[in-house]
């Protein structure tokens, strides 16, 4: 757990430092009062101070008492979580080109298989309902614009 917090603190520190540097490009003050850079600058500075203080507390061991808590998941859970993230990323990449229906059909079916569903009929029905069915409800009934791909589907 402590290692996790250290990593998080350094990530936060990096974000706040970058924001501080970038906010210097915007004017802190202009003729009307505080400029566009005023709030981000002070926020970044406060963020740096807070993260620095967190790192000091971590070094002293006064934040995390239960250092033995497992941060990383077990191998099979990690693989499944990885598969979910890959599927989401691929779906996002294909959504505009393939359209909602053709993207979601393999997305739903593939994820169900990866997550352990075994009934092929149930998987197929869910995939069709989750892609074509959901599209129909949202696009035609609720008038929510969803992408139609290059194939016109």
């Amino acid at each position: 757990m402590r290692r996790g917090w250290q990593v998080a603190c350094f990530c936060l520190l990096g974000v706040f430092l970058a924001a501080l540097v970038i906010s210097l490009d915007y004017s802190l003050k202009d003729a009307l009062g505080p400029g566009p850079g005023f709030f981000p600058f002070w926020l970044s500075l406060i963020g740096i101070v807070l993260t620095g203080a967190m790192l000091v507390q971590l070094a002293r061991g006064s934040i995390i008492a239960d250092a033995a808590i497992e941060v990383l998941p077990d191998r099979s859970a990690a693989l499944q979580a990885g598969a979910v993230l890959v599927a989401l990323t691929v779906a996002a990449a294909l959504l505009d080109d393939l359209g909602f229906r053709l993207t979601m059909l393999p997305f739903v079916a593939g994820l169900l298989l990866v997550l352990g569903a075994r009934s092929l009929i149930a998987i197929a029905l869910t995939a069709v309902a989750g892609s074509f069915g959901v599209f129909h409800v949202f696009y035609y009934w609720l008038k929510v614009p969803l992408p139609i791909g290059v194939l016109g589907i």
Binding site: G4, W5, A8, L12, V15, F16, A19, I22, Y26, D30, L32, G33, P34, P36, G37, F38, F39, P40, S44, I46, G47, L50, T51, M54, Q57, I63, I64, V71, L72, P73, D74, A77, Q80, A81, V84, L85, A87, L88, A91, A92, A93, L95, D96, M104, F107, V108, L111, L112, L115, A117, A122, T126, V134, F138, L142, K143, V144, P145, L146, P147
Partner: protein
């Protein structure tokens, strides 16, 4: 009199058949969200926002509000039958509710939870009707400095009660505020942190962030978990016996009071009122040893507190524009998506909408009681739904919701990144709530700060020379100091973890 007239007009609007259907759909979907473990009310409400895109704002907000308090009840069913809270506020109900189910009294536990939720919800809504208009009138006299101080107090409260470290809570709130700075500067119109990416000119979408932090992260966390064991219990006798009534009614009244008053305080969150109501009930009980063994008061008190809190938490949002919790922040996001800014001006500008939404709380609570008492067996059957299907359905709606907000794949990317960040934060127990609240309040805090400084010609003393503003800042400082010195009661600290 004026309030009563507004309420009657609101009731008439809420009772139109379209709005009744929206409330009914919202209650069903909300209960479903609560029933399905792993999908909390914040994520559930966020992923269902696309359903309301093409509705008129009144209908859309009535449906989303119904989803919110429906989820608060739905979580009880899983707490009682599988000892897994459907949403965080139902954790306490597991203690005695599940024991009652094991003893064959699951139906009674669910029945008293539905009745307690109904009483809590209706009472809190009546109080909302009484309290909200005068509070909104007081808030109308606030200037930008007072609003700045008020929002800082709200953010401070959320931060001080979030998780194990005040510093971490503050850092997360600052990160949320900083993310809110991405996009066009609201005062001068200059782009900030956009890196030439057109999709960032409108800022980082609140809804994709919430879907990622709560929806995707929750799925990633629960994958590979142990299978659920549903307790086989008779659900025929839903009403408690005369002796059980005798013990439960007082607990319902006290739970309602605790839930309502804690709901007025931004940042308290839904867990704390249930926890406090449970502990209070145990302390005053003549048989505290029965708590944890299936005491009906252990179900009645937290469930009443839960729904009283849920309705009372709308008061800071509707009157001051301060969201008390991530779920209320999502509702605030839904108002903003519909071009409305919650706060005192909403009572002036759109009384028709505000009162219709408030009136719908009454109808929603009645609908929930009608739905939950006779249909509890049907909800219980949903618990047998394989988790893979729930998981994939949630992800599907996350993609749909994130995309359809602006028809932009970039938002889906934001959701995925936030899902990874949320997963990491939850694994190491970093608080998520301050980040979400910072993100939604960021533009408002910045605007009031800068308008205040423009009013004073850049002089910061404007915040200490106005008595109300000074008072609010002192309260905010004391809250943070109290949190740093760990002055909150042990129960509250434990519940907030």
């Amino acid at each position: 009199m004026d309030t009563l007239q507004h309420l009657m007009t609101g009731l008439a609007a809420a009772m139109s058949w379209q709005n009744l259907v929206f409330a009914l759909i919202g209650c069903i979907l909300g209960t479903l969200i609560g029933v399905l473990p792993g999908l909390g009310p914040a994520a559930g409400t966020a992923i269902l926002i696309p359903l309301t895109f093409r509705l008129d704002p009144t209908g859309g907000l009535i449906m989303l509000s119904a989803i919110y308090y429906g989820a608060m009840y739905g979580g009880t069913i899983t707490s009682v039958l599988i000892n897994v809270p459907g949403e965080a506020a139902s954790v306490v109900t597991c203690f005695d509710g599940h024991q009652m189910a094991k003893q064959g009294r699951g139906g009674t536990a669910l029945g008293i939870a539905a009745i307690g939720s109904f009483v809590g919800g209706i009472t809190a809504t009546i109080a909302l009707v009484v309290v909200a208009p005068p509070l909104a009138r007081v808030a109308l006299s606030f200037g930008p400095p007072e609003f700045f101080a008020l929002m800082l107090v709200g953010l401070g409260l959320v931060t001080s009660l979030a998780g194990r470290s005040l510093l971490a809570g503050l850092a997360m709130a600052v990160l949320g505020l900083l993310i809110a700075m991405v996009g066009i500067d609201p005062v001068r119109g200059a782009p900030r942190f956009t890196f030439g990416i057109p999709s960032l000119y409108d800022g980082v979408g609140f809804i994709p962030v919430v879907m990622g932090l709560f929806g995707v992260a929750e799925i990633l966390l629960t994958i590979g978990g142990p299978p659920r064991q549903v307790v086989a219990t008779k659900l025929t006798s839903l009403l408690p016996s005369r002796e059980e009534w005798g013990r439960a009614w007082g607990a319902i009244a006290r739970g309602t009071g605790i839930g309502f008053f804690l709901g007025l305080i931004p940042g308290v969150g839904a867990i704390i009122p249930t926890f406090v109501a449970y502990v209070f009930e145990k302390r005053i009980s003549k048989t505290p040893e029965n708590f944890g063994q299936g005491a009906i008061e252990g179900v009645a008190a937290p469930e009443s507190a839960n729904n009283a809190y849920a309705n009372a938490a709308m008061i800071p949002l509707l009157t001051l524009g301060i969201p008390s919790s991530p779920t209320i922040a999502v509702l605030m996001g839904a108002f903003i998506v519909n071009g409305l800014t919650p706060g005192p001006f909403l009572f002036q500008e759109r009384p028709d909408l505000v009162w219709a939404v408030i009136a719908s709380f009454f109808l929603g609570n009645i609908l929930l009681l009608v739905l939950n008492l006779p249909l509890v067996g049907l909800w219980a059957r949903l618990l047998h739904l394989p988790y893979q299907y729930v998981c994939v359905g949630t992800l599907l709606f996350c993609v749909l919701g994130a995309y359809s907000l602006q028809q932009n794949v970039f938002d889906v990317g934001v959701m995925i990144v936030c899902g990874i960040i949320g997963y990491g934060m939850r694994r190491i127990d970093l608080p998520v709530a301050p980040l979400v609240l910072g993100l939604i309040l960021g533009p408002f805090i910045e605007k009031s700060l800068r308008t205040s400084l423009e009013m004073s010609g850049g002089d910061f003393s404007i915040f200490v020379t106005r008595p109300l503003c000074l008072g609010l800042l002192v309260i905010g400082g004391l809250i943070l100091l109290g949190s740093a010195l760990r002055l909150a009661p042990a129960e509250v600290r434990e519940a907030s973890k």
